[in-house]
C-alpha cells in the first residue's frame, strides 16, 4: 500500500520524420498515441530519455533563447493568458518577453486581430470569454512574435463548428502570409483534411503512416452505402460480401474494384436500387490504420 509500483511506458518508439519549411503537417493518433508527447519534445518542454531531434538547427530541450524566439506553441488545455486581465494585457507582456519593437508589435497584433475579427473582445477579461474566443486569443498570443515554427496542439478542441471553421481559415490564411512551418494535432479529420498537405499517423508511439493527405484517400476499395434493411437482404448477398450496418437503417459494403459490378447487379436483381458510393474520407483510413496497428508508409 505504501510502496508505489513504478510503471514505465515508452511514449514514443524508434521513428523519424522530417518536416520541410512552410509545410503544414498533421499529427493524428488515438488518445495516448504520443502526439502531444512529440509536440512537447519538439518544442523543448520535455527531455527525451534517448534519441535526438533538430528544429531550426537547435536541439529543442537545450532551450536556447534564440530557439524560443522562433517557435510558437499553443496547447489548447494550457492557457498562457492572464486569467483576470483582458487579453490585450497578456499581449503586452509577450511583446516585452519577445522584445518586439513597437512597430513590429502593432503590425503583428493588428494583423492577427483582424484575421480573427476579435477587435471588440481584446479588452474583456479573459475569464469572461467563451472557449472559442479564448482560443483565438491564445493563438494570437503565441503568434505575436511571428514564429517560424508553430506547434498547435488540438487548436479546435471543444469548439463549435463555426469556431472550428474560423480557426481553420485563420491557420490557412496565416500560413499563406507568413510561410511558417506548422505542426498541428487534431482529432477532427476535417481539420487535417483542410489544413495539411501531409499527415503522420501515430499509433502506440510509432508511425503507422507518413504521407500525403491525397494518398490517404486512395483506398484499395470503395464504400457503397445501401439504403435498405439488412435483415431483408437475400442471403446470397449477405454471404458473399461483408456488410457493416449503419445506425440509420442502412448498411455499407467495402468493395474491391472487380467486385463492384457483380455486387451492384446482385443488388438490382434483389430489387434494391437505393444505394450510392461515398467519397473516400481520411477518417475511415485513419480508423483502419489505428485498428490494424500495422505499418504502412507511402
Amino acid at each position: 500500500m505504501f510502496r508505489r509500483e513504478k510503471l514505465y511506458k515508452q511514449a514514443l518508439k524508434d521513428f523519424s520524420f522530417t518536416v520541410s519549411e512552410g509545410e503544414i503537417l498533421g499529427l493524428i493518433g488515438a488518445n495516448g498515441a504520443g502526439k502531444t508527447t512529440l509536440i512537447k519534445l519538439l518544442s523543448g518542454i520535455l527531455y527525451p530519455t534517448e534519441g535526438g531531434a533538430e528544429v531550426l538547427g537547435f536541439t529543442p530541450w537545450e532551450r536556447k533563447n534564440a530557439f524560443k524566439h522562433q517557435i510558437g506553441v499553443v496547447m489548447a488545455q494550457k492557457t498562457q493568458l492572464w486569467w483576470d486581465l483582458p487579453a490585450i494585457d497578456s499581449f503586452e507582456v509577450n511583446r516585452y518577453i519577445y522584445e518586439l519593437s513597437d512597430a513590429e508589435y502593432r503590425r503583428n497584433l493588428d494583423e492577427l486581430i483582424t484575421l480573427f475579427h476579435v477587435e471588440k473582445l481584446q479588452k474583456v477579461q479573459v475569464r469572461r470569454l467563451s472557449l472559442g474566443e479564448r482560443m483565438k486569443f491564445e493563438i494570437i498570443a503565441s503568434l505575436l512574435h511571428n514564429p517560424k515554427v508553430i506547434f498547435l496542439d488540438e487548436p479546435t478542441i471543444g469548439l463549435d463548428v463555426v469556431a472550428q471553421r474560423d480557426m481553420r481559415r485563420f491557420i490557412l490564411e496565416y500560413r499563406k502570409n507568413h510561410h511558417a512551418t506548422i505542426l498541428v494535432t487534431s482529432h477532427y479529420m476535417q481539420d487535417i483534411d483542410e489544413l495539411c498537405n501531409r499527415a503522420v499517423v501515430l499509433n502506440h508511439g510509432t508511425i503507422v503512416y507518413d504521407g500525403s493527405i491525397a494518398a490517404m484517400k486512395e483506398l484499395p476499395y470503395r464504400t457503397l452505402v445501401v439504403h435498405h434493411d439488412e435483415h431483408l437482404l437475400p442471403s446470397a448477398i449477405k454471404e458473399r460480401w461483408a456488410i457493416t450496418s449503419l445506425n440509420n437503417g442502412s448498411f455499407q459494403m467495402r468493395l474491391q474494384e472487380e467486385e463492384i459490378k457483380p455486387c451492384i447487379s446482385a443488388l438490382i436483381d434483389a430489387g434494391i436500387i437505393n444505394f450510392n458510393f461515398v467519397e473516400a474520407n481520411i477518417e475511415e483510413r485513419v480508423i483502419d490504420l489505428l485498428e490494424q496497428g500495422g505499418g504502412v508508409s507511402s
Binding site: T36, K40, S43, G44, I45, L46, Y47, R63, N65, K68, H69, I71, V73, M75, A76, Q77, K78, T79, Q80, W82, D84, L85, D89, E92, V93, N94, R95, Y96, I97, Y98, E99, D153, E154, I157
Partner: protein, 266 residues
C-alpha cells in the same frame, strides 16, 4: 522597460483585481497576534520579577508587534504556485518562452507584493511612530535604514528558499502537507512566533548559522536596536553566503527536477 519589469507591473494590476482578498489576507494576520498577546500576558503574570529570558513584558510586546509586520512583509506563496504549475503542467508555458522561470516568478512576486507592501508599510509606520512616542522604541534614521536593508536581503532569502522548496513537486507531486509542515517549522525557527532566545543560548548560537534566523529574528532586532553594528555586518555577510548557497542549490535541484518533469495534461 524590460520583460521582468513588465511582468511585475502586470502582476500588480492582477493583484488589484482582488482588493478585498488583499485586505482580508492582511486582516487575518491580526488574530494570531491577539493570541500571542494573551499568551505573554499570562506568562508574565506568573513571573515574579517581570523578566523572562532577558525580555521584559514591554520588550516582548515590542518584539511581537514588530515581528507581526515583518512576517506580513515576508509572506510568500511562490512554493504553492510553482508546485501547482509543476503538478498540472502549467510550467510548460514558461519553458517555451525566452524567460527565466525564477526571474519571472520573482517579478510576479514583487508585483503582487507591492500592493501589500505599501499597505503594510503605511500601518507599520504609524505603529512605529506611536511606539516611539510612548517611549517603547528608540527610532533612528540609521536603524530604519539598516532594517530596510536587512528586510530586503531577508525577503530575497525567503523567496529563494521557498522557490527551491517548490521543486519538491517534481518528486512528490502533491506538496500541500509538506509545505504546511515546513511553513510552521520555518515560522518557529525564524522567530516569527516568539524570540529565538526561548530555545536557550546554545540553540540561539546554532540558529545564527541557519538562514531562518535572518528572515524574521534578525531584521526585527535590528529595528528594535538589539543588534550591534558589528553583528549587523556579520549578519549581512552570513546572509550573503546563504544567498549564494541557495542559488547554487536552486540550480542543481531544478536541473534534476526538470528531467523528471512530465508536462502533465494535453
Amino acid at each position: 522597460m524590460t520583460k521582468y519589469v513588465k511582468i511585475s507591473t502586470i502582476s500588480f494590476s492582477n493583484r488589484l483585481e482582488y482588493r478585498s482578498d488583499l485586505f482580508f489576507s492582511l486582516f487575518s494576520k491580526v488574530f494570531p497576534f491577539i493570541i500571542q498577546v494573551y499568551m505573554w500576558k499570562a506568562l508574565y503574570g506568573g513571573s515574579a520579577d517581570g523578566v523572562l529570558l532577558n525580555y521584559s513584558y514591554k520588550d516582548i510586546m515590542l518584539y511581537t508587534i514588530i515581528t507581526l509586520f515583518v512576517s506580513a512583509l515576508l509572506a510568500v506563496d511562490v512554493h504553492y504556485k510553482v508546485a501547482g504549475e509543476i503538478k498540472d503542467g502549467h510550467l510548460s508555458r514558461f519553458l517555451v518562452q525566452p524567460l527565466s522561470h525564477m526571474q519571472c516568478k520573482a517579478s510576479e512576486y514583487i508585483g503582487e507584493k507591492a500592493a501589500d507592501f505599501v499597505f503594510i508599510a503605511l500601518i507599520m509606520s504609524i505603529v512605529l511612530v506611536a511606539l516611539s512616542a510612548v517611549g517603547w522604541l528608540k527610532l533612528s534614521f540609521l536603524a530604519v535604514l539598516k532594517f530596510l536593508g536587512a528586510m530586503a536581503v531577508g525577503i530575497s532569502l525567503q523567496f529563494l528558499l521557498f522557490y527551491c522548496l517548490s521543486a519538491a513537486a517534481f518528486w512528490i507531486g502533491e506538496c500541500g502537507g509538506v509545505f504546511t509542515a515546513i511553513g510552521v517549522i520555518s515560522s518557529i525557527i525564524s522567530g516569527a512566533v516568539f524570540p529565538l532566545d526561548v530555545f536557550g543560548p546554545e540553540m540561539l548560537i546554532i540558529s545564527r548559522y541557519l538562514p531562518f534566523y535572518y528572515i524574521v529574528y534578525f531584521p526585527s532586532n535590528v529595528l528594535i536596536g538589539r543588534v550591534s553594528a558589528v553583528e549587523f555586518w556579520q549578519g549581512l555577510a552570513v546572509m550573503a553566503v546563504w544567498f549564494a548557497v541557495l542559488m547554487a542549490s536552486k540550480h542543481v535541484i531544478w536541473k534534476n527536477g526538470m528531467k523528471r518533469y512530465i508536462a502533465a495534461g494535453g
